[in-house]
């Protein structure tokens, strides 16, 4: 009995001691995030998955920074100057910044980062092509660099805020090797890496030496949960505090809203959905038929009913946040009679086949596609849906031009610049454009890439959007919100449009 008491007292003492030793002055608490995907490598040059960025934005910094408000602000560079007609950008670097391993951040780190991205290591990954305009980085002094470009790139400063342009520690990589770096990332961001278990999760903790606002939580854990119902169940059970997109299907929103302990937080996102047309074969070769199909589908009703108001109608293949969005562009109204007229005029016999190819695993879009098909049946087309495994659709069926009359395309350019969408969708020979070749479109697309005058560029991008709508290259559907599931114990959370989630402002009860 006495012995028992002694042990308890000792344990209490030990516990108190332990708590005193580990109690930091500021940050407290753990935030657990559910992310749908494990990117496999944390190296910035290796990835193009948005869910890489939802973790890595907390670990790394870029020269520029773009937060939830989508305004470009200084990051590791305090200021910059565009020189030589856009062919040279001079960056003044932030002083006194250290990487998580203690290594100093300076001009050499910047040069190393971009030499690596544009060199052999970068060649192995998908990021390099996004930064093709960069020729080299010249060190002027310890805290000044010049970035030389082969041609002006109007979107480059935005691109420097994320993905491949994240600044990495030269000495750390040289000492530990590339493979080690993939699984043990080090950057200058507000959280530093603790441990990573492939397919299970990654753990981070607050970095005391962060140059910006200190994190309000001590630990940040991510769990990779791909199944939406599992993620939501974990959120309801309190084992997860935040579920990030793309996870929660529209159909589950009421389930979350009914639970008093959790909530749904949404914001406009760059993700747009369209059913694009096969403009080379079949009845959709005829522009009138394509327009008839757009007239024949009540997109507004679909958005209101199936998407529960979590999406907005689009007219071109971009959302409101996109640079190049034209507010004056009007959607074709829902008009089944006009649709039938146009079909008759184009000589399409009733019962003509329209095959729609979609991704097999996207339950929300599956419903949308079924609704679209039903509308097409009303105007006398025989619509069928053929689902494909996502990888097969993206890497074989679409690029090889083996789709039916229509195919699903979802796109979310994080740079929020229409060039990032339009060039890949409409330029001759691009992977996502297996069918169309239009010299006028090519010329427009190329012309805006060579100039840095943003007002002029916006005008051309709007013209491209109008021209694409005019030719009815796709049936524009909707711009989906970014949907987060959030526990009420999380405070001060701002939803981000583009999955580049930085959690140093967030605190937990």
């Amino acid at each position: 009995m006495i012995k028992q008491g002694m042990r308890t007292a000792l344990m209490a003492l030990a516990l108190a001691g332990g708590m005193m030793a580990s109690a930091p002055a500021h940050a407290e608490g753990t935030l657990t995030v559910s992310s749908p995907q494990d990117p496999g490598s944390w190296d910035p040059v290796d990835t193009f998955l948005v869910n890489w960025a939802s973790v890595a934005t907390n670990i790394y910094d870029g020269l520029t920074y773009r937060g939830p408000d989508t305004k470009l602000v200084p990051g590791l560079a305090t200021s910059w100057e565009v020189l030589d007609d856009g062919l040279r950008i001079r960056f003044a670097l932030r002083e006194g910044v250290t990487f998580h391993n203690g290594e100093p951040f300076n001009a050499d780190a910047v040069k190393f980062t971009f030499d690596r991205l544009m060199g052999e290591e970068g060649k192995k990954g998908p990021q390099r092509s996004n930064y093709a305009a960069i020729d080299n980085v010249e060190v002027i002094d310890d805290y000044t660099v010049d970035m030389h470009l082969t041609q002006p790139d109007p979107v480059l400063l935005t691109k420097l805020a994320g993905y491949g342009a994240m600044i990495v520690p030269p000495k750390y990589i040289a000492e530990n090797g590339e493979d080690y770096f993939n699984a043990h990332p080090v950057g200058t961001g507000p959280f530093k890496f603790v441990s990573y278990e492939p397919k299970v999760g990654i753990k981070l903790e607050a970095y005391d030496g962060f140059w910006g606002d200190q994190a309000k939580i001590s630990d940040l854990e991510y769990r990779f949960i791909s199944e939406p119902s599992t993620a939501v169940a974990e959120l309801q059970a309190g084992r997860v505090d935040l579920v990030i997109p793309p996870t929660i299907p529209i159909g589950m929103i009421p389930t979350i809203e009914e639970d008093p302990n959790i909530q749904v937080v949404t914001t406009a996102s760059p993700t747009v959905y369209a059913l694009r047309f096969n403009t080379a074969n079949g009845i959709t070769k005829d522009e009138r038929v394509r327009k008839a199909m757009i007239y024949g589908v009540d997109r507004k009703a679909i958005i209101d009913a199936v998407l529960g108001g979590q999406a907005s109608e689009i007219v071109s293949f971009q959302g409101e946040l996109s640079f190049g969005y034209d507010p004056s562009l009007e959607p074709l109204p829902y008009d089944p009679n006009k649709a039938k007229e146009l079909l008759a005029e184009a000589g399409v016999a009733p019962g003509a086949n329209v095959q729609i190819n979609i991704r097999g695993n996207d339950s929300t879009f599956n419903e949308v596609a079924q609704a679209v098909a039903s509308y097409l049946q009303i105007i006398g087309l025989n619509a069928t849906i053929k689902p494909y495994e996502t990888n097969v659709l993206l890497n074989d069926i679409i690029p090889q031009g083996k789709t039916g009359e229509m195919f699903q395309q979802s796109w979310g350019g994080w740079t929020l610049d229409f060039d990032n969408t339009a060039y890949f969708m409409y330029h001759t020979g691009e992977k996502w454009n297996p069918y169309d070749s239009d010299p006028k479109m090519d010329e427009l697309l190329e012309s805006q890439r060579a100039i840095t005058d943003q007002a002029k560029r916006e005008e051309i991008l709007r013209e491209i959007a109008n021209y694409a709508a005019d030719r009815a290259l796709e049936m524009p559907l909707y711009n989906l919100n970014a949907i987060f599931g959030l526990s009420n114990r999380v405070k001060n959370f701002t939803p981000v449009p583009d999955s580049r989630l930085r959690l140093n402002e967030v605190s937990v009860d």
Binding site: P254, I302, A305, S363, Q370, A373, I385
Partner: protein, 284 residues
């Protein structure tokens, strides 16, 4: 005394099994046969205004509506068409191929036996889902492809079963005497061997029809099956998955339909096995 009572109870239970099996299977077959008359619009008509109507609240939609406002009852009945079609056609195909292969390799032995059986071994070593995903990734989904896939993956079972029976029958007197008086091989195979081994094949068929309905549902559930526009039980289950907590009826009713059909077929199969088994307790 007790043995007789037990046996009587067993028989009564067997009868009940038969009646239930016939009622369930027959009822569903009838509903499916007349589905076009019962629901002329095929359950395809969407009505976005009436989406997710709860069951038993609206006489027009007794079992409620799905997320696109389509009648769940109509879709469950129409969905039976796909399920039964897949179940019956795939089993029929597998039986034809499997029985021929089994007869040939069991009767002639030698080279063809070796080829067919090694091929069967390889096939049995492949997990079904792996085969299914690979097959569908290459040729795509759809009703026909799914039936072909099921035939390809199941003929082996019949071939093995038939070959085993042939091996034990081919040395029996009646076969030997048939051979001795010069009956042609084709006659021996079809007239003498086939009728003697068809019992277990029929039993396996009923069980496999049920099994294949479940496989069709799983594949469609995974998004690898038939066109989502065509109502099918697996597809409806998948559609209803995200609504399970606030609109259970979208997936529960097709689930119930699968349950009852498979139960009915299994009961029938069970009864058939006992009736056809010459050494069984229920032999008359």
């Amino acid at each position: 005394m007790t043995a007789i009572a037990k046996s009587a109870r067993f028989k009564r239970y067997k009868n009940l099994e038969f009646i239930l099996g016939v009622l369930l299977t027959g009822g569903i077959c009838l509903a499916v046969l007349f589905s076009d008359l019962l629901f002329p619009d095929g359950g395809d008509k969407i009505n976005l205004m009436a989406r997710l109507t709860a069951p038993f609240t609206d006489t027009a939609h007794i079992l409620g509506t799905d997320p696109l406002g389509r009648d769940v009852l109509a879709r469950v009945v129409m969905g039976g068409k796909i399920s039964l079609q897949v179940g019956i056609l795939s089993v029929a195909g597998a039986v034809v191929i499997g029985v021929i292969m089994g007869l040939v390799s069991g009767y002639y032995r030698g080279f063809w036996d070796m080829i067919v059986m090694r091929f069967a071994d390889v096939q049995l070593a492949l997990p079904f889902i792996l085969l299914a995903i690979t097959f569908i990734a290459i040729v795509g989904g759809g009703l026909t492809n799914m039936i072909i896939l099921l035939i390809v993956s199941q003929w082996v079972q019949y071939a093995r079963l038939v070959r085993g029976s042939v091996l034990s029958l081919r040395d029996r007197e009646f076969i030997q005497s048939a051979q001795a008086i010069g009956v042609r091989d084709i006659h021996i195979l079809l007239r003498h061997l086939l009728p003697n081994l068809i019992g277990p094949v029929i039993v396996l068929m009923t069980l496999n029809v049920a099994n294949n309905i479940l496989l069709e549902s799983s594949l469609t559930f995974l998004g690898l099956g038939v066109d989502p526009l065509i109502p099918s039980w697996g597809g409806m289950l998948a559609d209803g998955r995200t609504y399970l907590q606030n609109a259970w009826w979208v997936s529960v009713f097709p689930g119930l339909a699968i349950l009852l059909t498979v139960l009915g077929l299994n009961l029938l199969g069970d009864w058939l096995r006992d009736s056809l088994d010459p050494t069984g307790r229920t032999s008359r």
